[in-house]
């Protein structure tokens, strides 16, 4: 029985169904398309190459890395969401929030969000992933009630859940999506006004090509070939412009860097590899009156500043 101490239960879970029966049946199962591979670490078992030790090492490393990167992301999501809740309940800080996890895979982020008290719906187009996620949450009676999983894509549920969610999480998804504009529009549609959208993805830089494609896929084999296409990587600037043009105002963009020696992920100003973008859907004016009110208030403000600043007064006249 292999597996380092640091692997632990949560890391181990994401190795999926590996056991006495695992390897012998792998030949019978269909390969998962590499396009959704990265998000669905549990699919590793379906692509086992011969060579026992190297495979185990790869899977161990990946799960280890993913477990810790999720920790950082959850902290980011939690802290940003808590800012919007005036009094949160101790023990269940996100209680009362409805969150959508797009491309949830095996539930790596869905479960921590559920543990923090939120009602989460996790969606993923791959049936196998949802099955594993369902199975895993079934053992925990609290999570079983708080989390719901569905096999579908975002576009499919937009119709039935408009303006339903307080937050949408799309982690390691946008770099696999064919039409980014539509995807982000759908995200916006399902969000309540004032709701948060969290996107984590990989930047499109030379560094990400070198480390993310060349090193990870070709040299070290951490990620199978074809998982990522560099052309599909999204730079923060591109993402920001699409978000802003769809009514989502970007609050923060932070880079994440992995330190292979300590095994921990760190926040950084440097977004050249992985980064998290947090944006908020602007609140729609509900009544025409309020638009006037806003306009009146703005002019009043301008007049007030004009009184104190004669130069400004000139500007106003213009």
């Amino acid at each position: 029985m292999w597996g380092g101490r640091k692997l632990g239960s949560s890391g181990g879970w994401f190795l999926g169904v590996l056991g006495p029966g695992g390897r012998s049946t792998q030949a019978a199962r269909p390969l998962i398309s590499p396009a959704v591979y990265a998000k669905n670490q549990l699919s590793w078992t379906l692509q086992i190459k011969p060579g026992v030790f190297s495979e185990y090492r790869t899977m161990w490393f990946k799960s280890y890395r993913m477990t810790f990167s999720c920790l950082n992301r959850i902290k980011n999501f939690r802290d940003n969401l808590l800012k919007t809740i005036p009094n949160h309940q101790p023990g269940k800080p996100l209680s009362g929030m409805k969150i959508l996890d797009v491309g949830c895979g095996g539930g790596l982020l869905t479960e921590p969000l559920g543990r923090l008290g939120a009602s989460v719906i996790g969606i993923d187009p791959v049936d196998e992933n949802i099955k594993t996620a369902l199975c895993h949450k079934s053992f925990d009676p609290v999570l079983d009630k708080r989390i719901e999983y569905r096999v579908c894509s975002l576009e499919e549920i937009v119709e039935e859940t408009p303006e339903t969610f307080d937050a949408v999480v799309a982690s390691e998804v946008v770099e696999h999506v064919t039409d980014l504009e539509t995807f982000l529009q759908c995200c916006c549609q399902v969000l309540k006004p004032g709701g948060s959208l969290f996107i984590t993805t990989i930047n499109k830089t030379q560094l990400s090509y070198a480390l993310g494609i060349v090193f990870s896929e070709l040299i070290a084999g951490i990620v199978p070939k074809g998982t990522h296409t560099w052309e599909k990587f999204v730079s923060p600037e591109t993402l920001e412009s699409i978000l802003e043009s769809n009514g989502l105002s970007v609050q923060t963009v932070i880079g994440m860097l992995y330190n292979p020696f300590s095994g921990y992920w760190h926040w950084s100003e440097n977004t050249s590899l992985n980064y998290v973008a947090h944006s908020v859907k602007s609140r729609v004016q509900e009544y025409p009156m309020s638009a006037e009110f806003v306009l009146k208030r703005e002019t009043e403000e301008l007049q007030a500043t004009a009184c104190t600043n004669p130069a400004g007064h000139e500007e106003l006249k213009k």
Binding site: M1, W2, G4, G8, W13, T67, I74, P90, H136, S262
Partner: protein, 468 residues
Amino acid sequence: MAARLVRRWGAVRAAAHSGPLVPCRRWSGASTDTVYDVVVSGGGLVGAAMACALGYDVHFHDKKILLLEAGPKKVLEKLSETYSNRVSSISPGSATLLSSFGAWDHICNMRYRAFRRMQVWDACSEALIMFDKDNLDDMGYIVENDVIMHALTKQLEAVSDRVTVLYRSKAIRYTWPCPFPMADSSPWVHITLGDGSTFQTKLLIGADGHNSGVRQAAGIQNVSWNYDQSAVVATLHLSEATENNVAWQRFLPSGPIALLPLSDTLSSLVWSTSHEHAAELVSMDEEQFVDAVNSAFWSDADHTDFIDTAGAMLQYAVGLLKPTKVSARQLPPSVARVDAKSRVLFPLGLGHAAEYVRPRVALIGDAAHRVHPLAGQGVNMGFGDISSLAHHLSTAAFNGKDLGSMSHLTGYETDRQRHNTALLAAIDLLKRLYSTSATPLVLLRTWGLQATNAVSPLKEQIMAFASK
């Protein structure tokens, strides 16, 4: 980090092949078992305090905790007039932990004794070391174990919506989940009690003493040996009432004898000595016993001229180098009588678990480490474990993590192993050093003690380490 991983890797592999772990046995038990977030096995001082610490933690408000205690519930309606013979020296750090969940207030309302000074000296020489805080603050507190237990029980009752306590419940079997969960087998630890009831838990904390069932079931190796000593405890009445805020300990060649203040007229005795002598002490009549105690503290029979001269020389040299406040050897108060039926003995030993944690398992208190009472550190190390583990679990809960995950459990293990291993080694070394009257060693320890006494920063470091 890599080396540690590789070593553990190998150990896990080896353990999985040869250990008593039952890997991948599919649990066919009822899936209607209650799933607890944390189960603490063992309701002694450390186990009950752990359950309290988690029960009062703000991030555990919606979690379910279970405390399993094999013994009956001890109800203390009225504080008894006679003091109990089992007492603990509580360090300021432990007192802080106890007050963090309100147990210290109950203790203050019952009874405890603060001591401000500690004198430790040798029977074979004049060397002594005196510990006290600059402003004569409390160095520590002597509290009866029953009082602590009652305070903890009261606090547990106040959070009974989160913490369930089962008395007369002993776990007879633990079943571990597969490291790599199968599709239809539960990822939690399964516990079976003597009456057949079963529970599941995400994290099992073993606080079941030095013969820990949790540790054995997990197959964690334990380094342990028995000392050829037993400790005799008793409640002593002093000849006359005094301020009694000093803790006394004298190292006899047969073992250390300590007098801990309980009140103005009462003190608690802890005398570690050979098994035969301990049996004698417990069975001899009261007058003889009192004489033995007084003579142990007062007699200079083990002094030799050589050592006395050597000690005096160093003392003189130290006096030249720095003007020390004169620490003349003081004598502890004399004992008049002993409480009837308060003399009890128990064997001593050392123990240290090679690992404090495994996936979904953590050991705290005596289950992880067992120590000689000469430094009064046993329960304080346990309380230190609780502070560390509760902190790590609280952060993990706030991050939405699986509580049984090794990532934060190893953080706890590293924290505590660093502290505990050093302390354990130091105490064992002291015990061995002072168990002899061979001249070279006596000389070494005499000079060592005098030198340490002279270097105040060193003494402060020692006190700080022991107060955590």
